[in-house]
Amino acid sequence: MMKRDLILQKLRKLLPEGAVSEDEGYESGVAFSARVPVARIVEIASACDHAGAYLESMTGLDFEDTAEIVYHFHTYEPKSRFSLRVLFPHEEKIPTLSGIFSSAVWLEREVREFFGYVFADHPDPRNLLLPEDADFHPLRKTFGKIAAYRKREEIYA
C-alpha cells in the first residue's frame, strides 16, 4: 500500500467528515487536500511525518475575510502530493511545525515576513529574505499595487 493512501486513511479517521477532498485526476497537482483546524495542525502534521512524508512547500494566502496557509507534502511516490490547508483570522497566532519538520523553520520565517502571520513559539523569528528591520509584509494584499483583494469564497467555490 502506498504511503499516500495510508495517510489518506489516517486523515479521514482524524478529521471530521468532509474535511478531506480527493482529486482523482491529480488535476490541481495534489492527490487530496485536507482542511485542518488551526489547533490540530501539529497533530496532523506529525501524523504525516510518521508516515514518511516530507514538507515540500508552505505558503500563505491572503484573503479579505481570512488568512490561509497551505502546506504541501510529498512522499517520494508517484502522484502522492497532498496539501493541508489552515484557515485562521489574520491576527491569530498559528502553531509552528518546526518541532516536526526542520524545513519548517525557514519556510515559516518566510511566511512570517512576507505575510505577517505570526507563528507561536517559533525558534528563530528573524526575517529571512527581507532586511532585518523590515516591518512591512510585501505579499499581503494591503501592500503595494495589487490587482484585486478578494474574499475566499470568490475563488474557492
Binding site: 491529480y26 490541481s28 497537482g29 495534489v30 514518511g52 516530507y54 514538507l55 515540500e56 512547500s57 505558503t59 494566502l61 491572503d62 497551505v70 504541501h72 510529498h74 517520494y76 511516490e77 508517484p78 502522484k79 502530493r81 496539501s83 519538520f101 526542520s102 524545513s103 523553520v105 525557514w106 519556510l107 512576507f114 526575517n127 529571512l128 529574505l129 527581507l130 532586511p131 510585501p138 505579499l139 501592500f143 503595494g144 499595487k145 495589487i146 490587482a147 484585486a148 478578494r150 470568490e154 475563488i155 474557492y156 467555490a157
Partner: protein, 374 residues
C-alpha cells in the same frame, strides 16, 4: 547524522563572516560561521541580498508578462523555469500544445540542464582549488549556449517557451549542432574523469564529506541530485512525468552515501542521461508542423481555482503554485525553489566540519542564491 562535537568554551569561538563577496559563495550568499579553530560550530546563512519580489511581481502581471521573470530566478537553468511555467499555465488554462513544440522544448530544456550541470562541475572543482576544469567545462557550455542562442536569441535568460509552444521554430542546423554537441560532450567525459573524478586529491576532498542522510534530507525537504545522492530515486520526470518524458528511456542515477562524491557522480551521470533523452527526442521529433499554438490570448485567464505544478529543474523539485480568481492576473503566484531547502540542510551538515570542507559541501550542493531570494 553528523557526529556530535563537544561544544567548546564560549571564549574559544569566533565568528567568521563568509561572504557575501567571498570568492566561492556563488552569488550573494553570506554565512556567519562560528568557528573553533578551523572547525565550524554553527552556521547561519544570511539571505536576501538578491531579493526582487518575483512573487509580488507575479500578482501584478499577466501570465504572459511573468514569463521573463521565471528565467531570472535560477539564471543557470532559466529555460527549465520557462518550461515549467509554460507547462503550469497550459495545464491550468487547458491549452493545447503541438507535438513538435513539445519535442523542441524537451530538447532545449535538457540542453539547459546539461549546461547548468557543466557550470556546476566547473565551479565545484574550482572551489576545491582546481582552476583548469572550470574552463574546460565552460568551453563545452559555450557550445550549448551557442545552440540555445541560435533558437532563442539569448544566452542566459531565454524566455523561449510560450504558452502553447515556443517563440521560434528550430531549423536543421540546430538539430545538427545538437547532435554534434552530444558526440563532443561524450568524447570529453573521459578527460573529465581522468582529470577530476579519478584524481586522488579530489576523491579525498569529497569522499565522506558533507554526508546527508536520507532522514535528514526528508526533514529538510532536500530534492534533486542532492536527494538522489542519498539513494532515493526521486525525480519529477519519472515520478510525475510531465510533457513527454514518459516516452523516453532514461534512468535516474542514484548514489549510496549521500556525500559530496556521490552528488558529483550523480550529476555527471545525469548529464549522460540528458544526452540520451536528447538523442531520442531528436530521432522522434516530427519533421514539420506548428511550433506554437497561436490561439492563446494575451490576457489569458485560467478558471477560478488553484494549481500546484511541480517539475524537475537542474537543482531539484521546483513548483509553481498558482491561484487564479478568474482574472488575467494570478491571485497568488508562489514558487517552490529547490535551493531553499538544499541550502537549509547545510546549517545542519556544516556543524563539525572544517572551513575547507564547508566550501566543498557548499559547492557540491549546487545552490543558486537568487533562486532562494526570488
Amino acid at each position: 547524522m553528523p557526529k556530535p562535537i563537544t561544544p567548546p568554551a564560549v571564549d574559544r569561538v569566533y565568528t567568521l563572516n563568509l561572504g557575501p563577496q567571498h570568492p566561492s559563495t556563488h552569488g550573494v550568499l553570506r554565512v556567519l560561521l562560528d568557528l573553533d579553530g578551523e572547525f565550524i560550530v554553527k552556521a547561519d546563512p544570511v539571505l536576501g541580498y538578491g531579493h526582487r519580489g518575483h512573487e509580488k511581481m507575479g500578482e501584478n502581471r499577466t501570465y504572459k508578462q511573468f514569463m521573463p521573470n521565471t528565467s531570472r530566478m535560477d539564471y543557470l537553468s532559466g529555460l527549465l523555469y520557462n518550461h515549467g511555467f509554460a507547462l503550469a499555465v497550459e495545464k491550468f488554462a487547458g491549452i493545447e500544445v503541438p507535438l513538435r513544440a513539445k519535442y523542441i522544448r524537451t530538447i532545449c530544456a535538457e540542453l539547459n540542464r546539461i549546461s547548468s550541470h557543466l557550470l556546476w562541475f566547473g565551479t565545484y572543482v574550482m572551489d576545491l582549488g582546481g582552476f583548469t576544469p572550470f574552463l574546460y567545462a565552460f568551453d563545452d557550455r559555450e557550445n550549448i549556449l551557442d545552440i540555445l542562442d541560435r533558437v532563442s536569441g539569448s544566452r542566459l535568460t531565454y524566455s523561449y517557451c510560450r504558452f502553447g509552444g515556443v517563440c521560434r521554430d528550430v531549423d536543421d542546423t540546430f538539430l545538427e549542432m545538437t547532435r554534434a554537441f552530444i558526440g563532443r560532450l561524450r568524447s570529453r567525459f573521459p578527460d573529465y574523469h581522468n582529470l577530476v573524478t579519478k584524481n586522488i586529491i579530489f576523491i579525498h576532498r569529497t569522499r565522506n564529506v558533507g554526508v546527508i542522510h536520507p532522514e535528514q534530507a526528508r526533514q529538510f525537504g532536500v530534492t534533486g541530485p542532492n536527494l538522489r545522492a542519498c539513494g532515493i530515486p526521486f525525480d519529477m520526470r519519472k515520478v510525475e512525468p510531465y510533457e513527454i518524458y514518459d516516452q523516453f528511456d532514461f534512468e535516474i542515477p542514484v548514489g549510496t552515501n549521500g556525500d559530496a562524491l556521490d552528488r558529483y557522480n550523480v550529476r555527471l551521470e545525469e548529464m549522460e542521461q540528458s544526452c540520451r533523452i536528447i538523442e531520442q527526442a531528436l530521432d522522434r521529433m516530427p519533421k514539420g508542423g506548428p511550433y506554437l499554438n497561436k490561439s492563446v490570448s494575451f490576457r489569458l485567464a485560467p478558471p477560478k481555482g488553484e494549481l500546484y505544478f511541480a517539475f524537475e529543474s537542474a537543482r531539484g523539485l521546483t513548483a509553481y503554485y498558482l491561484v487564479s480568481d478568474g482574472s488575467p492576473y494570478p491571485y497568488r503566484c508562489h514558487i517552490r525553489v529547490p535551493s531553499f531547502s538544499n541550502l537549509h540542510v547545510l546549517t545542519d551538515v556544516f556543524c563539525g566540519t572544517m572551513v575547507a570542507d564547508a566550501i566543498s559541501i557548499l559547492g557540491s550542493i549546487d545552490v543558486v542564491i537568487p533562486e532562494i531570494d526570488r
